[in-house]
């Protein structure tokens, strides 16, 4: 399995097939580790994931506990970073470091889950549209156009308000509006693949449609799925942060990065670190996942290599 294409039907296997036989995964890995920035980004993202997973072990304090005596000044001000509260406290005397760790679980969790669902929907819709074609393709693609033409964030806001904010509502609503771009890409890839000779060959050998789709077409889309998974996550993390910032994310007092920025908003002059830390972490996460996604795309697509 050495032919990887993105939206093109060109056949370019000579160079690859000339190399000694190695697994595709090894190939991708080799190409990935050669890129410095994506590799670094991958490490950063891995560390973030690890911190999120290990939050209960690492966090020095309960993230919702309000340290009203030790965590606030005599006038009720939040504390700057110090030895007891490494990143300082927020307006309610809660430990910012612990909240950041637990907030990562919420923000990354929602971001990853929403992306996974979105890509899955995209794969389903794009797959059916591309493979079946005809009227179904037409209808599904018009649906994609329709959703893409809508001011999605405002509709997300509206839906969340109507459905009452909560983890699953946020995940569902975000993913419902994030699958269109992957669906389009998957469709065009499938369109490209399904007219290739080996698919024709399978047809001629009498293979049933579902077998052709699952065994011969889908594997050519999977690398794209991984890439799009990575490229969708930043958007969903942003969407979650924006909702939480507006008070429509996960209900208080559960921390999420977006709601932490909101908590710090009123203090942006008196205690700028409250918003600065979650803001920085969001930026770091998004940049690292973006780099990771780009790196994966490069690694999985030999055509893109210079």
């Amino acid at each position: 399995m050495t032919t990887i294409r993105v939206g093109t039907s060109q056949v370019a296997t000579d160079k690859v097939s000339a190399r000694p036989a190695k697994s595709w995964g090894w190939d991708v890995w080799q190409r990935f580790v050669r890129q410095k920035a994506p590799l670094g980004a991958g490490v950063v993202f891995g560390v973030l994931l690890l911190l999120a997973l290990l939050a209960p072990v690492i966090a020095p304090h309960d993230p919702v506990q309000q340290f009203r005596k030790e965590g606030l000044s005599a006038l009720g001000e939040p504390l700057a970073p110090n030895t007891q509260f490494w990143l300082g406290t927020d307006g309610l005397g809660r430990d910012l470091f612990s909240r950041l760790l637990y907030g990562a679980r919420v923000s990354l969790g929602i971001g990853l889950a929403a992306s996974a669902i979105a890509v899955l929907i995209g794969l389903l819709v794009g797959g059916i549209a591309g493979f079946v074609g005809g009227k179904i393709d037409f209808f599904l693609m018009r649906l994609v156009d329709l959703i893409m033409s809508m001011p999605t964030f405002f509709i997300i806001l509206l839906l969340v308000v109507m459905l009452k904010p909560g983890v699953w509502v946020v995940i569902t609503v975000i993913s419902l509006f994030s699958w269109t771009a992957p669906a389009r890409v998957f469709r065009s890839q499938i369109l490209a693949v399904k007219h290739l000779d080996f698919v024709l060959a399978a047809h001629c050998l009498g293979a049933p449609q579902h077998r052709i789709f699952l065994r011969h077409v889908l594997p050519h889309v999977l690398p794209l799925v991984i890439v799009y998974l990575a490229l969708t996550v930043p958007n969903t993390i942003f969407a979650e942060a924006s909702l939480s910032f507006l008070g429509l994310g996960v209900p208080q007092p559960t921390p999420s990065w977006g709601s932490m920025i909101q908590d710090g908003f009123a203090y942006y002059r008196a205690a700028p670190w409250i918003a600065l830390f979650p803001g920085t972490i969001i930026a770091l996460t998004v940049v690292s996942i973006n780099l990771l996604g780009t790196g994966l795309r490069e690694a999985m697509d030999p055509m893109r290599k210079k």
């Binding site: 919702v64 506990q65 006038l75 309610l92 002059r269």
Partner: protein, 569 residues
């Protein structure tokens, strides 16, 4: 002079005393977060301008001793002006303009809460049955156009605001006056119960004895307006034609932008010192703060709450704050008809779980924790009063267990107004005794239906009185009658309170027995029935300037007294 008529039986007055008046509505919304509801935006700007006081004089006592005429006093407000017609002035800026600047009322409260005769020459004489108030008027008071104020103007003022085609937020406050219903219905324009005895004497007849009646006359909607001039101005009245008796005269009002007033040199008391007042409207707190720091403002109405510690922590800045205890009270109210708050033990437990001191500290001490729900400026406030339910988590938990909620309670909705920070503090306090509360944030009007429908188990209600007397609180949300007609949205009803109010309202305002009765009502609601937890009262806080003197903060209005204020110019 005064009479007592300890009537028995219910007071019909109470049955529909408090309809949802616009003013009350606005106050309720505004006070939900009290002082802390102030804007969250702050300017990212340079250090504050050096306090002028420091530069203008090395010896403040020398320059601060002699009031001088002159100076432009600039104020910034977050809100807009709707109208400068007293009964229609209902937002913050126009309410103050009408109530304290351009007009006068018959009676008023000074900065220390003392009730005094303003346009009236003296306190009213009350008939033996407590129904007829004879009010002598001050002579030689001139309207801004030079005409003398006479009794006819007073009668006109009292009846005009009740006319169907005149907008007033406060009509229902006056419904105890004889003739009220006919004027409201539009069958007549004349208030039968109000008589002009002579040019300087007015007589008002009431349906029921009502000790607070003189206090109602101090409300801004009863600011005295000139009869003929008002009628002649027609639709222009209150916008381009504004004629009062107040310390400052109307100059101009640019809608949405600013209002300008100037010194009334013919004022019937000592003429004011300030030459000119400029009130700037519709300004974000952040913009106000910038202007103040640029030295462009003498009175900043909305200080962003995150800025307060900085202002309070610096002596030079702190000296420029203008503060007065507010008349507003905040309570955590229980929905009495709904589990688990139908059980008095749960209510007691909640009362013992709330850490008011921590909230007060969080707000830099500008919220004063309350034991009872009366606030310091009120006649009936009792500094000795103590709640039986002081902070005690263990005892509270024991009570929860006793009530059958040892495993905690989930699914409680709590309406907290707009201050989410304080809401989260209460949420955490409740979690300590096993009550898991979901916060409902936002404007009161958006949640009131749900609250009244019993969907909200706990809610923070703020309430600002229009005059410093417990009657306002009691009739608005402590009586059984107020479940239907007022703001008693927790459906608390103890018929004894209704009886007590009916009895003591027949007594003079300051009668010790009347005061004692209202204190007992507070004890019943707070300690016996635990109808709500008294939380805190806010300070009215604004940022002034050290070069300005005697611009005292008003407890009622939250804006300055400018009658005697002066500037170093």
């Amino acid at each position: 002079m005064h009479s007592r008529d300890p009537r028995n039986g219910p007071n019909p007055l109470l049955e529909h005393q408090y309809r949802l008046s616009r003013r009350a509505f606005l106050r309720t919304v505004a006070l939900a977060g009290s002082v802390t509801a102030m804007g969250a935006l702050l300017p990212g700007c340079a250090a504050p301008a050096a306090p002028e006081g420091a530069t203008s004089s090395a010896d403040p006592a020398a320059s601060a001793s002699e009031p001088k005429v002159g100076g432009v006093y600039r104020l910034t407000g977050t809100g807009d002006i709707r109208s400068l017609d007293p009964p229609a002035a209902e937002s913050s800026e126009d309410w103050w303009s009408a109530g304290m600047v351009l007009y006068n009322q018959l009676y008023f409260y000074d900065k220390d809460g003392n009730f005094y005769a303003d346009l009236a020459a003296d306190m009213p004489t009350i008939s033996d049955d407590g129904l007829v108030y004879t009010i002598p008027l001050r002579q030689g008071v001139k309207f801004h156009n030079g005409r003398d104020l006479v009794a006819d103007d007073v009668k006109f003022t009292l009846e005009r605001q009740l006319w169907p085609d005149v907008y007033s937020w406060g009509k229902s406050y006056m419904e105890n006056m004889v003739g009220y219903d006919e004027v409201i219905a539009g069958t007549t324009q004349e208030l039968a119960g109000t008589k002009v005895v002579d040019d300087y004497t007015v007589e008002v007849t009431l349906k029921q004895p009502q000790a607070v009646f003189p206090a109602l006359l101090s409300m801004s909607m009863n600011a005295i307006i000139p009869k003929q001039e008002t009628l002649d101005a027609g639709a222009e009245w209150g916008s381009t034609v504004v004629i009062g008796t107040g310390p400052f005269k109307f100059v101009e009002w640019a809608a949405g932008e600013r209002a300008v007033y100037e010194r009334n040199a013919d004022y019937f008391k000592t003429p004011p010192y300030l030459e000119r007042i400029e009130l700037y409207l519709n300004l974000e707190p952040a913009v106000q703060m910038l202007r103040w720091e640029n030295g462009e403002v003498e009175w900043l109405d909305n200080i962003p709450s995150a800025e307060l510690p900085r202002l309070l922590g610096d002596d030079a800045l702190k000296a420029q704050l203008r503060m007065a205890p507010g008349l507003g009270t905040n309570r955590l109210v229980f929905q009495q008809d709904v589990k688990p708050f139908d059980d008095v033990r749960v209510r007691q437990a909640v009362a013992m779980a709330i850490d008011k001191g921590a909230v007060s500290q969080k707000r830099s001490g500008l919220l004063t924790p309350l034991e009872g729900h009366y606030t310091p400026p009120m006649l009936q406030f009792d500094a000795e009063f103590k709640s039986d339910y002081q902070l005690d988590i263990e005892k509270a938990k024991a009570l929860m267990a006793e009530a059958g909620y040892a495993d905690g309670v989930t699914g409680i909705k709590m309406y907290i107004g707009s201050d989410e920070e304080i809401g989260q503090m209460l949420q955490s306090d409740l979690a300590n005794i096993g009550i898991e509360a979901e916060l409902m944030v936002g404007q009161w009007k958006d949640w009131r239906d749900a609250t009244r429908a019993g969907e909200i188990g706990l809610f923070i209600y703020g309430w600002g009185a229009s005059f410093p007397d417990a009657y306002d609180f009691t009739s608005a949300w402590s009586t059984c009658a107020s479940v239907e007609t007022g703001f008693n949205d927790g459906n608390y009803c103890n018929p004894k309170i209704d009886e007590m109010v009916a009895t003591v309202e027949a007594m003079p305002l300051q009668d010790p027995e009347r005061i004692a009765a209202y204190r007992e009502i507070q004890d019943i609601t707070i300690n016996q029935d635990v109808a709500w937890v008294a939380l805190w009262s806010g300070q009215n806080v604004a940022l002034g300037r050290s070069i300005v003197h005697d611009d005292f903060m008003s407890s009622i209005y939250g804006w300055p007294y400018l009658e005697t204020a002066w500037m170093e110019v």
